[in-house]
Amino acid sequence: MNCPTDSTLRAYIDAELNPLEISELKNHIQTCPACQARLQAMSATALHVGSQLASLDVPLSASEMNPQIALARFRASLPAPEERLPFFALIFARRTRFAWAASFAVAVLAISLMFPATRSFAQRLLATLRVERVQTVSLDFEAMSNSGSSRQPLDALAKLLSDNAVVTTNEKVSSADSQSAASQAAGFPVRLLSNRTDEPTFEISGAHAFHLTLNRSRLQDILDQAGRPDLILPATLDGAQVSVQIPRAVAVKYGACKKQDQESTDQASTTPANSCLVLIQAPSPLINVPSDLNIQQLAEIGLQFAGWNAVKAREYCQSVDWKSTLVVPIPHNVQSYETVYINGVRGTLMHFANSNGQRPAFALVWVDHEIIYGLTGKDEASSAVQLASSLQ
């Protein structure tokens, strides 16, 4: 046997060699004075440093001895259900982007009301908000955005967002020519409707990420202008940071569908073309916010800001699990909506009005394993659940 490497000698000292290696090494060392010297020096250092590090021991704690206790404590320290932001966001195309931005801005505003003066260890952490289910709210941001007096503060909020947001990721829309290519591009397994035999097209919305630092004085101005001077923002709001990550999403399109950049914001385009069926699959967006906030109160303020009275807002907010709920605003042209189940998962099916001589349309939204699904089409809504249930 040749002289062993330092690594082998060190492993020998730590009894990390197998019996055969140990036997061979012992035999060699007995006949090699140089290796004996190396081993002695190495052992001395290992022993000395090991002893120093061994001096660092301190008594065990109860939870350390019992990880079940530690796990229970950990769960208790997780952000409370109220610490998830509502996502007042529909996932369908650009016509809802304003609503999303406005809702987010409202949420950010309300965050400001809950900051305490000091922060504990837990409060240093960020709450990461993610979607696990959907629930509806009759909230017509679209109408608000088109009405003069209501639109002004929303515009101001949107501007505040765009002025302060630092965009770190802003990918463009791309396309893929197969399910596997779409899955690879999106980073999650894209699913198809097995009820449809025609070949779909795949459109991948790019990932987006931004963070922003809140500006208290500007937010206060907006609140005042919105007729809510009673909401006084605390000084601690200034400089608070919020970050948003929106992963890539995939729109699987069956039939004759317009491309995203061909969509317009007029009434006729709020539903897809007659033969078009669109299945959107989007991993939950993540919003990191300071964890020391009362989301239920935040949501109440947001709803009041959107025109609800205080009692109604409170009642609604108490009915929602804000921890992980995608709150879907029901657009003004939705005739009715109902709760449905897609393979056991709760979803919301919206029936759009039959207007301008067009066929009725539907939109079905549900969340499964933290992937948000949206299915829109122009067909009898009764077929929506059947189609969605065929997802593979």
Binding site: H48, L53, D57, V58, P67, L71, G187
Partner: protein, 198 residues
């Protein structure tokens, strides 16, 4: 001669099959399994590093919280335990460095050089506490990868576990340990000008 420095083979953590959802996060069941199987040894390591059980548990919780709320990058999904250990140790090292910068640890440790010879009640305990301060200060000064491997080994992790947690080859663990020990001793001598006699 050799038997005196041989260490008992540490127990290895049981293999764990983790289930990562399509969204890049750990499933609830996998998270719980990982927590229960990893927490004791992770806190033990952090406790050794930081010297306070409470702080060690806070740092461990912070690491688990990151795991709970983070979309794991594809490269981390195959070795989540390693990702967790590295994250926790980096948090611990950051904490140690922050304390060294902002507290009196460094001052106390250097002052202890001249005052440690005083015969007084509880001398052994005092000496041990001073040694701990010095060792932690030295750990906060050396390269993070050296601190990580030394603390993992001191906490009883096998070479195989160290290789897995630090994502290095098994055959390089011995060499890395030698370098880390040499780096630690050099740093200790630079800080305190003497070799601790234990």
């Amino acid at each position: 001669m050799l038997e005196g420095v041989l260490e008992t083979l540490p127990k290895t953590a049981p293999p764990m099959t983790t289930s990562v959802l399509a969204s890049g996060r750990l499933s609830s069941q996998s998270f719980e399994e990982l927590f229960l199987s990893t927490y004791p040894r992770l806190v033990s390591l952090l406790r050794r590093m930081l010297g306070e059980s409470g702080r060690a548990e806070e740092i461990a919780n912070e690491a688990f919280l990151k795991l709970h709320s983070t979309v794991l990058p594809p490269s981390a999904r195959a070795n989540i335990r390693g990702w967790l250990y590295r994250t926790a140790m980096n948090l611990g090292i950051d904490d140690l460095r922050a304390r060294a910068r902002h507290s009196r640890v460094a001052q106390e440790a250097s002052q202890a050089v001249s005052s440690s010879g005083q015969p007084e009640t509880g001398l052994q305990l005092l000496l041990r506490q001073e040694t701990q301060k010095r060792v932690r200060l030295a750990i906060s000064h050396i390269k993070p990868e050296w601190a990580q491997i030394l603390l993992l080994r001191a906490s009883g992790h096998s070479y195989k576990e160290i290789a897995s947690h630090l994502e290095v080859s098994l055959s390089s663990v011995g060499t890395l340990l030698i370098r880390a020990e040499a780096g630690f001793e050099k740093c200790y001598l630079e800080l305190f000008g003497e070799k601790e006699v234990l």
